[in-house]
Amino acid sequence: MKFALPTILVVVTVLLMALALMGAGASRGTVGIAVGSAFYGLTPKGDTPQQALTNLLVDVQRRNWDRAFESVSKTSGIDEQSFIQDWIGSNGSLRSFSSLEAFDPRPLHATNDDAEMRIRLHWTTPVGPIEDVRDIRLIREGDVWKAVWPRVQVPNVHAQVIPVNYLRWDLVTGGAADQWGSGNVDAPHVRIISMNAVDSAEGAIVMGEVVNEDTIPAFVNVNAVLVDRAGSAIDDESSFDKIDHILLPKQVTPYRIDFPGFNLKNVKNVRMDVKATLVPASADPVIGVMKQKIDSDVQGKSVLHGDLLNQSGQTVNISHVIVSFYDNNAKVVWVADGYVDRALLPQSTESFAVEIPKFVASRVQNFHVVVDQYTLGRS
């Protein structure tokens, strides 16, 4: 009798451990990291398209590349190295600094031997969370399903010599021995050329465009203060990363300032302030934005897509696309941005896509794309 309670406790504990080990992989509809088994060898068999894709993504999250690649069909024509590179990025791209935080697989259609799944991939990146949507085809191979992973198109950069004759602005600061007022250099002249304030589901948004009117580069930041009917400031925000901060002479950038949780009906006035400081800068690399077109994506959303073409001879690690959308009166009605997660190799292209919200998509008549870039070793 005195061993009854310890025995029951041991049995219940063992049962709960067994349930935990076996049960986690069988749970359905969970997003991302919670899906999968705790121990290798106890992974549920990929006998359904959803389970097979889940197994693959869990292995990708764990960076268990060999096991993940086992879930890829041999008919894909992709080698393991390219598959890994597709997930972890290369050349110091944004993907190289990102990790797959969660995923959300949904079936699109399925037959006995063929299925198509849509996965929403939630990445954590240095520039904030990024969501990626991919459609993956799966085929039955025996009693398991395997993903047909699309072949990764890696730009083939030929050996070549590209003469570098770009312009560069260096900044020399005066010494302490300078007489007062003898050698000051004025800050660049920048001007807000348009401003529009709108309400959105997330809050009030102030957006527009800024031009550098000077002959030297400028580091630009736009601040806005919301003023209520009593004349007091109710919030103060800056354009943060929704702007191309370094503006070369006569360059125009969109800006967007978000005021989460605020409504314009409580705002009487918006005080704008643009700050510009003189910085060293380079006109290189020149990035062309080709084949820009507004289309609907697979989810039916309006998307501006195009190709970035690196016309210089150096690798651009992270490209940031910022777009201002205009209505038929050339008024800025929306500013959106997006990051390209692959590095932009010299003389090569990478595609980009920027979503246009539904409430503004029908009014968009024109757009202007600028590309901000980050290159390792240069700030």
Binding site: N165, Y166, L167, W169, Q179, W180, G181, S182, N184, V185, D186, I193, V211, N212, E213, D214, T215, I216, P217, L248, P249, K250, Q251, V252, A283, V286, I287, G288, V289, M290, K291, Q292, K293, I294, G306, L309, Q311, F367, H368, V369, V370
Partner: protein
């Protein structure tokens, strides 16, 4: 009534005592002293006393003999402003005097801006402030001669009297890009500053282009402002190529007056335009590739 009488009596005694003291030891100071010059203060009476001098950045205590002069050295009177002299022997007697700035020794010359587009009215301004050798602002009126010149060609000349130690000018920028020499002179003192005159906005933006194997090569004619100055290198020209419902853009910097860009397009009819800041150029139509 009795109380009022007491107050009056005390006041009379105090005044009488003060008058006696004043006669006993007197301190006479000069009306004005020039900064850096020696000065002497005369005293009356007899006996030993302590002398204090308090001024801008100066605080001195010395022994003095009543009836003799107190000599102040120039190094103690370098800072212009009001000084308080205090002589104490039992009681204290004080007097104030002013030290004025010496003759102008250097000019501080502030010119704004450091960079200016050509042909802008009231765009260049300058302020000159004369200081003596001890860094005192010279408040006495002086005539400062302002000169603006580009490559030894005089654009502007004006003589301005200082008011309260300040003289200034304001004028338009010149019509040609380059260094604008700005000088301010006062007697033998002369100070020079440089303002960089830069080209203004492009006046006409004309483009030409042709289709090549790698796309369309498009370039501007030499880009000038409305005064004929070549627009500064590095100025961005945005080329836009529209073909059907697709658009391609390249932000290309001007080099030696010309901006060039290579635009990859499909081989159809393409319309190309250019813009620099808020200035638009002509439209170019390039036909389909044969």
């Amino acid at each position: 009534m009795r109380r009022r009488f007491k107050i009056c009596a005390v006041a009379c005694v105090t005044v009488a005592f003060s008058v006696l003291v004043c006669f006993a030891q007197d301190l006479r100071v000069p009306a004005s002293v020039t900064a850096g010059d020696d000065a002497s203060l005369s005293t009356s009476g007899s006996g030993k006393a302590t002398f204090y001098l308090l001024g801008p950045g100066v605080s001195i205590k010395t022994d003095a003999t009543l009836g003799e002069e107190i000599r102040l050295q120039g190094r103690d009177l370098r800072n212009a402003g009001e000084y308080l002299a205090l002589l104490c022997s039992g009681t204290c007697n004080s007097a104030t005097f002013f030290v004025t700035s010496a003759k102008p020794f250097r000019l501080t010359f502030l010119v704004h801006p450091s960079r200016v587009p050509v042909a802008r009215s009231d765009a260049v301004s300058g302020v000159a402030l004369p200081f003596d050798q001890f860094h005192n602002l010279v408040l006495a009126p002086a005539t400062i001669d302002f000169q603006l010149a580009v490559a030894n060609y005089s654009l502007f000349s004006r003589a301005a009297r200082t008011q309260d130690g300040v003289a200034w000018f304001r004028t338009a920028s010149g019509k040609s890009a380059g260094a604008l020499q700005v000088s301010a002179s006062l007697d033998a003192i002369s100070v020079k500053r440089a303002v960089q005159q830069v080209a203004s906005d492009p006046c006409q933006l004309r483009i030409s282009g042709q289709r090549g194997p790698a796309g369309i090569l498009v370039q501007t004619d030499p880009v000038h402002d409305c005064n004929g100055n070549i627009v500064s290198d590095g100025t961005i020209v945005t080329f836009s190529a529209t073909e059907g419902d697709e658009k391609s853009t390249v932000d290309a910097p001007i080099r030696q007056g010309i901006a060039r860009a290579q635009i990859k397009t499909a081989p159809g009819m393409t319309v190309i335009s250019a813009a620099s800041g808020i200035v638009l150029g002509n439209e170019l139509r390039i036909g389909a590739k044969q």
